[in-house]
């Protein structure tokens, strides 16, 4: 050891004893230092990839073109208004080359076709990552800043949602996620403000609990609170994972806090008549209850609509007298319900309530035994109801609806990793954090109040995608790129007819002037489309169109005067200015024109592939049957529809066939001769 030290000292003395030697050594070191920079540059990753790329294209047939397109060195996209400095193309050299479609090795794959140009948006706006970095590790995984790594491919649709606040046809996952945020009431606790300063509005229908003791029993509330999914497979209410004592006390409070409604106890005639299951079932079918309500069948599938609650075990829930009062007029109990007021007779009410009441599950409440509630339990129940924020969704007497109950999520997609507390063993990225939180919220702390949902993996992924779209960047993007969500429609039909439409809840299924559901046809221009007698007959007995559909228009049993009022309102108000419905006559066409129309229908335009005029011969079953279309639609509407179906009903799948005026005229004549039997006889 000593000798080594001595040797070193003598060596350095020999080297540095002379100033010229010192100068020589220092010059050499300077030279080395100067050489490091170009050497580092020469051995950089991107240069290595560019050389690989040149070798890759060298032997191809299109080598000359590709070589002409190739630019060496660091390539950069700089978009100041988007905050983009992307050097990704330094390695991903072939992103724009359509002829490289067959190359599958990265980083040389062509970018799959998308509606945006690379030089207008850059890369990180969609893919995240560090655009300015020039090494793979730093650009993709952000090893130094640890803030913005690449967005995994499965969540890529989130990036579309930064600008597109309306549903896009190409982003099903994002659209589903946004629907789930609204449908499962996520946005009731977590407010979400979008860059266009609109908010996501919930679409679920949590019932008020003001009169709950009239409707159901404390035992049912207890079992429901313990596990909503055990009552209804399609329940939207999540599981709060309450202890037995918590569920006992909350149910005690809700029953004690309930205020009786006079109407609910009045129907005491319930047990007087024995229910007739067959007649009840057929009334349930005729009334098309299944358009909104689902029932779980023996195979475990939930069959029916999802507008109203599932009715599989409804008999174990509701009290018979309440059910009758509800069926008579649902709005007395819940003024915001989507359930229409059917005009059933007393006899029908008994039949239907008897049938619905028979849907019971004896096992459901078999193990629920509750002692009478004590004042202490009730007081504790009230405290729990406040703690868990039940009043955020449900109207509860004496409890104020809390504001901002849970953290706002308007920018959750950019939440800094430093602010997140990860579970041990989970990947430390934002998408993984959000997905884990959606999957099992209480895993992040037993004291957390967020309930447990029973989402499928697809739904979790969709929700994570929708949440990841709520980024800081979406707020700083220039306004010209923002595609705002349409404003919430507030259309309200006026007068007595408007009140009638509110009672029948037409808007639950039909859309009029931008407001309403999408299950049934848009009625904004119904008055221009149909003939008055048909509309009146349809409201009386709505069973003529599309007989194979499961979800159909219910029969409301309207009185003659109510029907006349609705029909008048529709025919007068719901018209389009573009169509004068009296411009083309309803009948008396020349036989030649009708025959010409028939030829066109069956040969040139082959309408029979989707429609039926002669049920014995035509089989097409996509569009509605046209056997009686001459009694249903106005001639002018048919003519305009043929000329451009999408202009009459945006989004309809009947293609615009560029039919010329003469052909459209002949087809209209042919279709207008397809009258209902009664009308044809009357003419003879």
């Amino acid at each position: 050891m000593q000798s080594l030290k001595a040797k070193l000292i003598s060596f350095s003395r020999a080297l540095l004893h002379d100033p010229i030697h010192i100068f020589g050594v220092v010059s050499f070191l300077l030279l080395v230092a100067l050489a490091i920079a170009p050497a580092k540059d020469h051995f950089s990753e991107w240069r290595h990839y560019q050389q690989q790329y040149l070798r890759l294209i060298h032997d191809r047939g299109d080598a000359v073109t590709l070589q002409r397109h190739f630019q060496g060195g660091i390539r950069q996209i700089w978009l100041p208004d988007l905050g983009v400095v992307d050097r990704c193309q330094s390695c991903h050299t072939g992103l724009d080359e359509t002829s490289l479609a067959d190359v599958s090795t990265q980083p040389f794959r062509r970018h799959p076709p998308i509606p945006h140009r690379l030089d207008e948006f850059g890369c990180v706006v969609c893919h995240r990552g560090q655009g300015a970095a020039t090494t793979v590790a730093e650009a993709h995984h952000s090893t130094l800043a640890r803030e913005e790594p690449l967005l995994p491919a499965r969540y890529i649709e989130a990036s579309c949602g930064q600008c597109h606040h309306v549903a896009l046809p190409g982003t099903p996952k994002l659209n589903q996620g946004r629907e789930l945020l609204a449908r499962y009431g996520c946005v009731r606790c977590h407010s979400i403000r979008l860059p266009d300063s609109s908010t996501i509005t919930p679409t679920d229908q949590p019932p008020p609990l003001t009169h709950i003791a009239d409707k159901t029993t404390r035992e049912w509330i207890y079992a429901w609170l313990k596990d909503p999914a055990s009552y209804a497979a399609s329940a939207t209410m999540p599981n709060f994972q309450l202890s037995d004592a918590d569920a006992r006390d909350i149910s005690a409070f809700l029953i004690a806090n309930s205020e009786p409604l006079p109407g609910d106890a009045a129907a005491a005639t319930v047990a007087a008549t024995a229910p007739d299951p067959a007649a009840g079932a057929s009334l349930y079918g005729e009334s098309f209850c299944a358009s909104c309500h689902a029932v779980q069948n023996a195979a475990g599938n939930v069959v029916g609509g999802d507008i109203g609650p599932e009715l599989t075990r409804i008999g174990s829930k509701v009290k018979p007298e309440w059910l009758q009062a509800w069926l008579r007029d649902p709005r007395t109990y819940n003024s915001h319900t989507l359930m229409p007021r059917y005009r059933w007779s007393e006899q029908q009410l008994r039949l239907l309530s008897g049938y619905v009441q028979s849907k019971t599950d004896t096992d459901f409440l078999a193990n629920v035994h509750l002692d009478p509630a004590t004042p202490r339990q009730i007081a504790r129940g009230k405290a729990l109801v406040t703690e868990y924020g039940c009043a955020v969704c449900h109207e509860i007497r004496g409890i104020q609806k809390p504001e901002n109950f849970a953290p706002e999520l308007s920018r959750i997609g950019s939440k800094p990793l430093a602010q997140l507390v990860f579970l041990s063993g989970m990947p430390q990225t934002l998408p993984d954090y959000i997905a884990a939180k959606v999957r099992r919220p209480r895993a992040f702390g037993a004291a957390l109040r967020m309930p447990q949902y029973s989402f499928t993996t697809d739904q979790e992924e969709a929700l994570t995608t929708a949440l990841l779209s709520l980024t800081d960047r979406s707020f700083t993007l220039p306004a010209r790129l923002q595609i705002a969500s349409p404003p919430a429609a507030t259309y309200q039909p006026a007068g007595h007819a408007g009140k009638l439409m509110a009672e029948l809840n037409c808007f639950a299924c039909h859309r009029i002037n931008g407001r309403g559901g999408e299950m049934a046809p848009d009625l904004s221009w119904e008055g221009s489309a149909v003939q008055r007698p048909w509309l009146d007959a349809f409201l009386k007995s709505p069973n003529t169109l599309r007989p194979a559909l499961i979800r159909r228009m219910p029969k409301f049993n309207l009185s003659d005067s109510e029907r006349a009022e609705l029909t008048d309102y529709f025919m007068t108000v719901y018209q389009t200015a573009d169509i004068d419905r009296d411009a083309i006559p309803l009948s008396s066409y020349s036989a030649g024109l009708v025959e010409q129309g028939r030829q066109l229908f069956y040969s040139k335009y082959s309408c029979q592939s989707c429609h039926q005029v002669n049920p014995q011969q035509d089989k097409g079953y996509i569009g509605p049957p046209l056997t009686q279309v001459g009694s249903r639609l106005n001639a002018t509407w048919i003519y305009h529809w043929l000329k451009n179906p999408q202009a009459s009903r945006p989004g309809t799948i009947e293609p615009n066939q560029n039919i010329n005026d003469e052909d459209a005229n002949a087809l209209t004549a042919f279709l207008m001769t397809q009258k209902a039997p009664g009308v044809r006889e009357a003419k003879r």
């Binding site: 479609a101 067959d102 599958s104 990265q106 794959r109 799959p112 076709p113 998308i114 509606p115 995994p152 491919a153 499965r154 969540y155 890529i156 046809p169 190409g170 982003t171 099903p172 996952k173 993996t457 697809d458 992924e461 194979a548 499961i550 040969s603 040139k604 335009y605 082959s606 592939s609 989707c610 089989k619 097409g620 079953y621 996509i622 451009n644 179906p645 999408q646 799948i653 293609p655 615009n656 066939q657 560029n658």
Partner: protein, 242 residues
Amino acid sequence: MKRLAGIFGTLVTLAAGCAHHPTSTPALHATATGAALVESSGGKQLGTPGTSLAQPLVVQVNDAQGNAVAGAVVEFRGAEGVSFDPATSLSDSSGQVTTTVTLGGSAGRYELTAVSNDKAGKEFVLKVTELAAGYQEQLGFELQDQYCARCHDPESSPQRVSNYDNLAVKPHAFTDGETLTKLSDSDLTAMISHGGPALNRSALMPPYGATLSKSDIQALIAYIRLVADPPWRVTGVVDAKR
């Protein structure tokens, strides 16, 4: 001496760790061997990049006589980015092995292989294709679901009754590569835009040129090319490697 033993111990642990690392799953011991692999279900699914496929992939191990073999080891392999859960498994009592496939991050066709060993220790394989739709193919899928599938898909579902059987001239399923691969992109575009008569085919196919945009039609063709069976182009495959 003590220190030396410590260092030695550490080295042994490290070496063991390194040796163990590549096969983190415990080795499975085959109790039987088969002679062939057949696909039971889960092939040719359309998924999205980076996502698990909706249905699991199920393959069956058979012996030379075609009888199911239980207890044979099957290993799944795919291109970079593809993962299997589980990647290696023993066939169950009905000879089947079930795995969940997660596709890689890029769109395209994925050729996966299931591998097992026969009595002599020789590998035999089964090739399975899965599809990952990029933006354009995804849009094409949505559009065909809305506009085309009612006639072109012979299968009915509870939500939609197929119109296929009602048509005098039967439309081609989009997976019918034999027919559709013979049509060039411009022929397909002409047919979608101007209807069947444009290529002297059935007038039951109406024109969509005034209803769908140019990019919509491109997306439809991209979808048709992706799902074509046999594949539209042999190239462009995400190669299977270990």
